[in-house]
Amino acid sequence: MSTSQALVEVTDLKKSFGTGGWRDRDNRIRAVDGVTFSVAPGETLGLVGESGSGKSTIGRCILRLTTPDSGRVAFDGVDILALGSSEMRKLRRRMQIVFQDAVGSLNPRMKVGAAVKEPIEVHRLATKNEINSQMLALLAEVGLDPELSHRYPHELSGGQAQRAVIARALSVQPDFIVLDEPVAALDVSVQGQVLNLLASLQRARNLTYLLIAHDLSVVRHTCDRVAVMYLGRFVEVSNTSDLFTSPLHPYTAALLSAVPVPDPKKKRNRIVLEGEMPSVSDRPSGCPFYSRCPHPKKNDQCSNVAPELREHEPGRLAACHFAEEPLSI
């Protein structure tokens, strides 16, 4: 295998959820509606979007925690949707997930040490004698006092619990971790610690991350590449620095300009979007963003023809008829 090969490759992924009963198949909510991307080894791909854009569903589909309707998910060249359940369980060692709600991600009746040890035992990665020392080493690696291994999750602070969850995810020496809003529930002063920890772990262990977040500052800080989602589709995929300085899609531009910046002197061109994201069940026929689009040139083409995600500059994709004339922020 060459090193340039993608670690995770997702092709035309679709997932919908039923609203009521087996009869109304047409009324299903298309949470993820044809998404294609890949993540290279050692890279951090950010997935941004507002609530209901389908970003968390993608994370769960990749780990096969929910089964997609169609599409292909390849991990290190293996189509994971075709794997049998025992092969899948073995592959799970290499891919892990960290959720927003850290305390809820730990079994309330299991001590922290036991929780960190469990995956090691399941995958038989160490002998009985080594397990304990491995667990303590993991706690040390994520900056937790070994004393805490005897505590129950509810006795930890949010930051400590998230560190424990990260230690648990690392215990199986994974290659790939889905980070689903890993710092959103933490106190501001603790968010920075966890972000720094994730960054240093990535360097030390050559990890590949898929970071799902609604907080664009976190995404800018952490990611190499970013995909922006709107109504179950990607509207823009780009390297981080270009995306944040000169976004191609008007939605990205509006999203960026809406983030309040902790600097009162900074005067920016604010693009305030009208209305709200339409519900996923009544998707417009043309460009999904048409109803809210602030672009001055939007026209009938936009309302009738959904734009394709096309490459406009090397490594920069956008789904907009006017991507060549982006809004300035």
């Binding site: 602070s157 002063s189 603790v190 600097d263």
Partner: protein, 330 residues
């Protein structure tokens, strides 16, 4: 700016009796709010900012809560904390209104949103049903709800979080209050909706000439909207300053740490300096300066508790560095 402030808080201390002992949630907090001003209160979970907000309207359940004897909340010269019954009701909602983080929980699910606005209007003003309804529709229009006459008959579950927060603002505006207290009003919302709500708050504030107390953990929101900022940590005010000053020259190490620890959307990647440790629980504040276990500048003097030192009319810091200028220059 010689006019008396609309709201003055003096030495507010609130404690809660819990099975595990007394929790001092808010400790000796004082501040003023001028007419038409936007005051930001920033702090992390458990710093006492929400308890402070609730105390302003005597909304702390007592017991288990206990507001100390020395505490004063002077609204237009009247001590709210000494009021009872009808007199208190006349201030609540009518002259000081509140909105919260979770609009879904603040609205009654079995009444239409219009009825809930009209109900508030009729609770404070002698108007007929029809008039109240008309005023409610005007308010819905003012807070940017499309097709207000139709939406009047909607139930809370039929509306999105952003729309419901607009409804909460409409209820708060229904009696044209002098002070609006907003406790994390945009935390549960998406950024594009947050931008809309902040715009709306700014707009109605100009229009009505209200004072706004905005409580948040988000420094970006503060920078965007506040005139003056109070930073709270572990139940105390640690710094107070004009918004520009707080961001350009933060005086308290905690404020500085907070600003440095958030990643910025407007700046390329850099190593953020996180504050070590975690927020102490309210049941167990550290002794001395409450921030000193996490403070990079702490020295032996920090074992004793610093006072909030005022400098000028609108700045104050609770830190030995501000007192001991020799040490500060080191």
């Amino acid at each position: 700016m010689t006019a008396t402030p609309i709201l003055q808080v003096h030495n507010l201390s609130v404690a809660f009796e819990t099975p595990r002992g007394v929790v001092h949630a808010v400790d000796d907090v004082s501040f003023d709010v001028a007419r038409g001003e936007t005051l930001g209160i920033v702090g992390e979970s458990g710093c006492g900012k929400t308890v402070t907000a609730l105390s302003l309207l005597k909304l702390i359940p007592q017991p288990p809560g206990r507001i100390s004897q020395e505490s004063r909340v002077l609204f237009d010269g009247v001590d709210v904390l000494s009021l009872e019954g009808e007199a208190l009701r006349k201030i609540r909602g009518a002259r000081v209104a509140m909105i919260f983080q979770d609009p879904v929980a603040s609205l009654n699910p079995v009444l239409t949103i219009g009825e809930q606005i009209a109900e508030t209007i009729r609770a404070h003003k002698p108007v007929s049903r029809a008039e109240a309804r008309e005023q409610a529709i005007l308010l819905l229009d003012r807070v940017g709800i499309p097709d207000p006459a139709h939406r009047y008959r909607s139930y809370p579950h039929q509306m999105s979080g952003g729309m419901l927060q607009r409804v909460m603002i409409a209820i708060a505006l229904s009696c044209t209050p002098d002070v609006l207290v907003a406790d994390e009003p945009t935390t549960a919302l998406d950024v594009t909706i947050q931008a809309q709500i902040l715009d709306l708050l700014r707009g109605i504030q100009d229009e009505y000439g209200m004072s706004l107390i905005l409580i948040t953990h988000d420094l970006g929101v503060i920078a965007e909207i506040a005139d003056r900022v109070i930073v709270m940590y572990a139940g105390q005010v640690v710094e107070e300053a004009a918004t520009e000053t707080i961001f350009s020259q933060p005086a308290h190490p905690y404020t500085r740490g907070l600003i440095d620890s958030v990643p910025r959307v407007d700046q390329p990647q850099y190593q953020i300096t996180a504050i070590p440790g975690s927020v102490p629980p309210a049941s167990n504040w550290p002794s001395g300066c409450r921030f000193h276990p996490r403070c990079p500048y702490a020295w032996d003097r920090c074992e004793t508790e610093p006072q909030l030192e005022r400098s000028g009319s609108s700045s104050a810091v609770r830190c030995w560095l501000a007192v001991d200028t020799d040490k500060a220059t080191e």
